[in-house]
């Protein structure tokens, strides 16, 4: 057998025995699981920071001019930099590292049955560059002029000239941090793609790969194919800021709309870069907790590829009012509405998977179901914005803001919680507390809707996204509108407080949770055949793969699951 030869010639045996210090085990580790944890905790720490920022600027909106408890007075420039960095952090330093890097690092080698990533040292380098970029971003709050305040899209000329944005250091360091972050994920992405292509366990064919692994790798490819122009654009913007070039300065021949194209050529596929891993996590959770084969595996896979391809053709719908040519607006309206087809198809396939299954409403499953329900609202409201005619009225209002939070919160928060509750036993050998988990679930999902449904109404009544104080504008300062703003802010505070339950549950369960065996959910995929927690090297004997990942409730079998590594 091939794997015995591998184990003998390999190093799996000498992995787990030598004593390692804290530094080499947790800080400079080469183990993909530890690097995944590093990404996870760095991402979550920054995510908490971003969430607290939203508390500060929501309070300023609801009670303008008053001191925010725990922060103090919010000046307009601080308000701008808080909004900018909330967006930047949540997309680039929370959603990306947690969904793609953390889950990718942890899941890919385990689920395809090999002992590590193909390039462990490159993997560590990727995290170190990412960590450096996070430090640079945080440092912008402490440099002269404060953090960058030109919105997370950094449109020039505002972002290109210190005379306009008043943050000579903040804007430059922002660009540097974002560019470094891209480099980190490019390195990580190459590692993911190569690992999946080359290191699958013997016998694992194209359609035996778990959906979540497929989706994370497709997301890495999307990222790689879309980020290039923006890397070049970041260098151009940096030169505009510091060396006096005029790439984006119309008075000297440049064009600010060029940056918008560079940014959104990456920025829109980026939505699918984070959506696909989330969809993958949800697929794994749903299949296991409804004890049914994933409905139409190949359809799901090719739909995801189609989504990825289409996602490159829609970017200019972010620029309908930026002065782009109206004929291009027609094209991009059609493609934007087209992309709802594969996504809707995927939702139908997931519902078909649930149909007729024996469903267990565990916390992970509840989060997975909530993802579907909430993302649906996000998708449907997107149609108003994808059609260029209506977008002219909705653009840059709270309607847009509520729309993309209805897509990003299910992706980056609800699906991540589903994944954490589901794979926690593999990381620790213990399960998380279900009662606390359900309190956390309802306490997250209900306030989330109470935050953003009011914002749809505010947007429809014309509230612009980037206003420091609505009381300065008579049309927006009407008392009932202000009441809606205050209501949404209270819902936000409740949602933030409920997250404390999650962290208590997480850290309590790591040390005191109920112990379980290697496969508590009776799942098929290969990671559940490894010990919990898996040692460095993952498997005692590297597994072979004999069948697809979703053989549940197969007729004429005693057990309702059929692990991929069981020969018969």
């Amino acid at each position: 057998m091939a794997q015995h030869v591998e184990a003998a010639s390999g190093h799996a045996a000498d992995h787990d025995h030598h004593h390692q210090s804290f530094w080499s085990k947790y800080v400079f580790s080469l183990d993909h699981k530890v690097i995944g944890l590093q990404y996870f905790f760095t991402g979550v720490a920054l995510g908490v920071l971003g969430a607290l920022m939203s508390y500060v600027f929501r309070m300023q909106q609801s009670f303008p001019g008053q001191s925010v408890p725990g922060f103090g007075y919010v000046t307009p420039d601080v308000y701008n930099s808080l909004i900018t960095n909330h967006g930047t952090i949540m997309i680039f330093w929370f959603a990306m590292p947690v969904l793609v890097a953390a889950f990718g690092n942890f899941l890919i080698p385990l689920m395809i049955g090999c002992d590590d990533m193909v390039f462990p040292r490159l993997n560590r380098l990727s995290f170190q560059i990412f960590f450096l970029s996070a430090l640079i971003l945080i440092s912008t709050f402490f440099v002269p002029g404060g953090g960058f305040g030109g919105a997370w899209t950094a449109y020039p000329p505002l972002s290109a000239k210190a005379a306009y944005n008043m943050t000579p250091w903040g804007s430059t360091l922002w660009v540097v941090a974002v560019a470094l972050e891209f480099v980190a994920f490019l390195i990580g992405g190459i590692n993911f793609i190569t690992t999946l292509m080359n290191s699958r366990s013997p016998g694992m064919k194209m359609y035996d790969i778990p959906i979540v692994v497929w989706f994370i790798v497709i997301a890495s490819i999307l990222f790689m194919a879309s980020v290039g122009p923006l890397v070049a654009g970041a260098i151009m913007l940096l030169f505009d800021q510091q060396l006096g070039t005029a790439f984006f300065d119309p008075t000297r021949g440049g064009d600010p709309v060029l940056w918008q194209h560079l940014f959104w050529f990456f920025g829109h596929p980026e939505v699918y870069v984070v959506l696909l891993p989330a969809m993958g996590i949800v697929a794994e959770v749903m299949v296991v907790f409804s004890r049914k084969k994933l409905f139409a595996y190949k359809t799901v896979l090719f739909t995801a590829i189609a989504t990825g391809v289409l996602s490159f053709f829609v970017w200019a719908h972010h620029q309908f009012i930026s002065g782009i040519d109206p004929r291009m607006a027609n094209v991009f309206t059609v493609t934007t509405v087209l992309i709802s087809i594969p996504i809707a198809e995927m939702c139908f396939v997931y519902i078909a998977t649930l149909f007729g299954g024996s469903i267990t409403f565990s916390t992970a499953m509840l989060f997975a179901l909530a993802f579907m329900a909430e993302f649906l609202i996000g998708g449907v409201t997107g149609i108003f914005l994808g059609a260029s005619g209506s977008d002219i009225y909705f653009h840059d209002t709270y309607f847009v803001l509520a729309h993309f939070h209805y897509t990003f919160v299910p992706i980056a928060i609800i699906a991540v919680f589903a994944g954490v509750y589901y794979w926690f036993p593999k990381y620790t050998g213990r399960v998380m507390n279900e009662t606390l988990g359900k309190i956390h679930f309802w306490g997250t999902v209900i306030p989330f809707n109470l935050i953003f449904i009011p914002l749809f109404f505010l947007g429809a009544s014309g509230d612009h996204r980037r206003i420091y104080s609505y009381l300065l504008f008579p049309d927006s300062a009407k008392p009932y509108l202000q009441d809606i703003r205050i209501f949404a802010t209270y819902a936000l505070i409740v949602a933030l407080l409920v997250q404390v339950v999650f962290f208590i549950n997480l850290f309590w369960s790591i040390f005191k949770g109920k112990k379980v065996d290697n496969n508590p959910w009776l799942a098929n995929t290969l990671e559940w055949s490894a010990p919990s927690p898996p040692p460095h090297g993952n498997f005692a004997v590297l597994p072979n793969c004999y069948r697809g990942p979703y053989e549940y409730s197969t007729p004429n079998r005693a057990k309702d699951y059929w692990p991929q590594n069981e020969p018969v």
Binding site: M1, A2, V5, E6, R200, P202, G203, K205, A225, S226, G228, P229, P250, T251, R252, G253, D255, V257, L258, H261, F265, F312, F313, W315, A316, G323, I324, D325, P326, R327, M328, N544
Partner: protein, 135 residues
């Protein structure tokens, strides 16, 4: 499974035949010839011909380097498709952006600032030319 053995076969880097140093020197000579063509092309002072000798030859040179020096010809096919896919992304970016950046006016819009920049630049060039004549 058949793939258990195939997946771990130790060698078999390239499927095709291997060439001697002479072959690569010949390819290099061909590249040198193309380089000379691309340098001499503009001397014919025919814009269309310059375009072909400059960019057509560049594409040919790139294909030769990729095909023979990088061994893309005997590499697995999907690598070529992947690289072409990435090139298609570049083309897509150009196509989607050209309507706004490449052109200075279109349906119901004119990029006034950039027209002014062209006028200003042409004046500067004229001035430079005049001062050059005085010297």
């Amino acid at each position: 499974m058949a793939s258990t053995t195939i997946a771990h076969a130790p060698q078999d880097d390239h499927q095709g035949p291997h060439h001697g140093p002479g072959f690569y020197v010949k390819i290099w000579a061909l590249l040198m010839f193309l380089l000379i063509v691309s340098i001499l092309g503009p001397m014919l002072e025919h814009p269309m011909l310059t375009l072909i000798t400059a960019f057509g030859v560049a594409v040919v040179k790139a294909v030769i380097v990729a095909g023979y020096f990088m061994h893309l010809k005997i590499e697995k096919r999907f690598i070529t498709y992947m690289l072409l896919g990435m090139l298609a992304m570049v083309g897509l970016f150009f196509a989607g952006t050209a309507a706004d950046i490449h052109r200075l006016q279109g349906t119901n819009w004119v990029n006034v600032a950039r027209f002014q920049y062209i006028e200003k630049s042409l004046e500067e060039i004229k001035k430079l030319g005049e001062s050059g004549e005085h010297h």
